[in-house]
């Protein structure tokens, strides 16, 4: 089993017009890992929902946010973070039930309110048919 750990980091401004860049990058990483087209679409949608929330929450913050794609074997973990630690637990007490439903349904696991080291983490594993 391949246990290597590759990491790709994308940094984006808190602006709506750059969410599509997050989607495109997600597509490239997921495609490289061998996810099927339908699952790539699912991951893209989940990433965009988090980006949307970050753009809304961070509109008054000058810093950027980052999306880290960690590839470990056939598992993709996507970690969202921001240097401004005033921003935390972004979906807490949120009325965006549509976004939460979508993210939860499309990813294998999601940490909505992790510890202080990052904002949100979610993962998906490539299904391999042998």
């Amino acid at each position: 089993m391949d246990t290597s750990l590759d990491s790709i980091v994308l940094t984006l401004p808190f602006r709506a017009e750059y969410v599509s860049v997050g989607r495109l990058t997600t597509s490239g990483v997921a495609s490289r890992m061998g996810f099927d087209i339908e699952t790539i679409e699912d991951i893209k949608v989940a990433v965009a929902e988090v980006c949307n929330k970050l753009v809304e929450a961070g509109s008054k913050i000058e810093n950027e946010y980052s999306i880290r794609f960690k590839i470990s074997g056939n598992r993709l973990t996507i970690i969202f973070d921001c240097r401004d630690k005033a921003l935390k637990c972004i979906f807490s007490g949120d009325d965006n039930e549509l976004g939460i439903s979508i993210i939860t349904a499309l990813m294998d696991s999601v940490e909505f309110c992790p510890d202080d080291s990052y904002l949100l983490s979610m993962s998906k594993t490539v299904e391999r048919n042998f």
């Binding site: 709506a16 750059y18 969410v19 599509s20 965009a48 929902e49 949307n52 979508i102 349904a105």
Partner: protein
């Protein structure tokens, strides 16, 4: 930056067919909201959302569909959604909106 959204209005005898082409995301959703609300307010007719060329939608777009439905109901009108692609229909099912809208 975004692939963009094209909205085309086609007035029928007893309804308005709104053709959506491209992507509805956080960047294009305000444009969709403005156009749909304007069409509902001015036409006061049933709305058919033609989505055969709609490639992507997120929760902001779905929220605008819901808001539009509420607005249409104020005039006693309905909104139906036709020709959804599978990836988008999946989001309607996940969020339960397939039971809220008429989807054909």
């Amino acid at each position: 930056m975004s692939a963009g959204l094209i909205i085309r209005e086609e007035v029928m005898n007893d309804s308005v067919r709104v053709h959506l082409s491209g992507e509805v995301d956080i960047y294009t959703s305000q444009e969709l909201k403005n156009r749909l609300y304007e069409i509902i307010d001015t036409r006061k007719a049933d709305i058919i959302l033609e989505c055969s060329e709609l490639n992507y939608i997120d929760s902001t777009g779905l929220g605008i569909f819901v808001g539009s439905l509420k607005k249409a109901k104020q005039y006693g009108k309905k909104i139906s959604i036709v020709n959804l692609k599978d990836n988008i229909k999946k989001l309607f099912i996940i969020t339960g909106l397939d039971k809220v809208f008429i989807i054909e």
